[in-house]
């Protein structure tokens, strides 16, 4: 395929895959409660995921190493094992939530029984991941997820207050009456940051670079995809904040269901808006389910040294294949109990932020190391920004769980 087509597809795939059910509900709710005042976190998170995915992608292209083998090498076995257990737990929770999200969306389209749709989703995912090649999985779900751009159109149709929007990009503490409201604000700030920088995205992106057999010549491709693609994906997140601020705040609704998000699109664009929103959410959640299940399998395989990758035949990466199958089955078992998927993803987002520093530190250290990366090591900008972000996510990791408890999950 031509270089230009490859870059173009890569960008579109990155945009379509940017949002999953946790980020959708958290950003809409944050907009509904706080208006535009948390917009700066969306920008901060988007810049952060661009920075770290670029580094992880570069390491994959130059050294053909993915994140978890770096973690083991750099942090030592025991610390690496703890990170692996935590990261796998978080991936499983996120995957379960996305499977639930897909079943919810299918129910909105078909009005069939939710529990049967969860089982159907399991069968769907197993068949898709088993039969489709990696690049086709990326393309189908990435491009299908572009339908989420209906929310960009919806945001514009709502007529955002541009002055408030621009003001929201400046970090500040809000003008609130009580300590509880302030804690609530920071809880949502941490949650949005985490939902944009969910660790599975970096694991999947780097492993995907190895699946796609990237070489040093692909570094520019990596950079363009990550910068342009994720920045455009960030625009989608901004649109969700706008919809929260302009639509849901006016109705005093904190949306907790995919259908709630879809209503905003329906009222703006009718049936076209409805189907674009529902199909867009299906592809986005399904893509996230596949990414989280595969990244769980990638992590374990890379940590213990099993052959891995969709580019191998399943029988030649047998334990890796078994692992993602088991992950899908386990996630379905969790979600079919009837637990609220949005509740599950909230736990996953809160615990993810605790895992983030352990994920990003080895990536930063290796990407900055000239002995390993040679001429492809970090420049000054990447190093400085990388360390600044590491401090930010470490602070977020420390306060995440206390804030979650104190604010009763953002309901204070």
């Amino acid at each position: 395929m031509g270089r230009f087509a490859e870059v173009f597809l890569g960008i579109l795939t990155a945009v379509g895959g940017f949002v999953e059910i946790g980020e959708l509900t958290f950003t809409l709710t944050a907009g509904s409660i706080f208006g535009y005042t948390l917009l700066w976190v969306t920008a901060l998170g988007t810049a952060g995921i661009i920075l770290y995915c670029e580094m992880a992608g570069r390491i994959a292209a130059v050294k053909h190493r993915a994140v978890f083998s770096l973690i083991r090498e750099r942090t030592g076995f025991t610390a690496g094992l703890i990170t692996l257990v935590a990261a796998t737990g978080v991936s499983v929770l996120t995957c379960a939530a996305e499977i639930g999200g897909v079943a919810l969306v299918w129910q909105l389209l078909s009005a069939w029984s939710y529990r049967w749709l969860v089982i159907a989703a399991l069968v769907f995912f197993v068949l898709v991941v088993w039969w489709l090649e990696f690049e086709w999985i990326e393309r189908v779900f990435g491009l299908g997820g572009l339908l989420m751009c209906v929310y960009v159109a919806t945001a514009l149709a709502e007529g955002p207050s541009w002055s408030d929007l621009l003001a929201g990009l400046v970090p500040r503490t809000p003008d609130v009456a009580s300590g509880r409201e302030l804690a609530n604000y920071w809880y949502y700030a941490v949650a949005i940051l985490s939902s944009i920088m969910l660790p599975y995205e970096t694991y999947f992106y780097a492993s995907g670079g190895i699946e796609d057999q990237w070489k040093p010549k692909d570094i520019t491709l990596n950079r363009v995809i990550v910068i342009v693609g994720f920045a455009l994906g960030g625009l989608l997140s901004v649109s969700l904040v706008v919809i929260g601020a302009e639509f849901f705040q006016a109705h005093s609704i904190q949306p907790q269901l995919p259908g709630s998000a879809a209503i905003s699109a329906v009222l703006a664009f009718g049936s076209v808006g409805l189907f674009a929103a529902l199909l867009g959410m299906f592809f986005a959640f399904a893509g996230a389910a596949i990414e989280t299940a595969l990244s769980g399998a990638y992590n374990i395989a890379q940590f213990v040294g099993w052959p891995w990758g969709k580019y191998r035949e399943p029988r030649n990466a047998a334990r890796f294949t078994l692992t993602w199958l088991v992950i899908f089955v386990a996630c379905t078992a969790i979600i079919v109990t009837g637990i609220d998927p949005v509740q599950v993803v909230e736990y996953s987002i809160v615990f993810s932020v605790v895992v983030l520093p352990f994920t990003y530190l080895p990536v930063l250290v290796v990407a900055a190391d000239k002995r390993i990366m040679g001429e492809y090591a970090n420049g000054i900008a990447s190093n400085v920004l990388g360390w600044i972000y590491l401090v930010i996510i470490t602070l977020a990791a420390i306060v995440a769980i206390p804030l979650f408890v104190f604010t009763h999950g953002g309901q204070a």
Binding site: Q107, L108, L109, S252, L257, G259, A262, V266, S271, T407
Partner: protein, 146 residues
Amino acid sequence: MAERWSRRDALHQGIAVAAIVVLAVAGMVYLRERPQGPASLKAEVSTLRSQAAETELVLSSASQLDARFMKAHAEQLAKNIERAQDSIGNLNVQPALRDAQRFARNEAQRLHGVAQAASQGDVTSQRTLPRIIAGELQVLEHTLER
């Protein structure tokens, strides 16, 4: 390969881990059994109020929504309201808050009825109820804030 650990070390660590687990579980049980204050009840009431507002939106825009989507969304909303009702009912609140808890639970029950009816296609018979419930819950929220 030299043995770098001894069974005694493993036993000591096992005891330490067990102690931590017991303490953590005891802590969680204590926090759960301890009577909750207004903030905990307010958190659940906020969720319910938002659900009431959303039910009202669904009913008022029903004519603009695809019927199958509307019914399915109302069913999902009804399920969430039921969860909120159970959360409120299961809260172990301070004695002074028991009336407020009972009130919120009844409101949840009424709201659940409306959402359930909407999931069957009935969007007119209780059209004004969600707004009334949302208003009452908002008053309750303000009371609990003080």
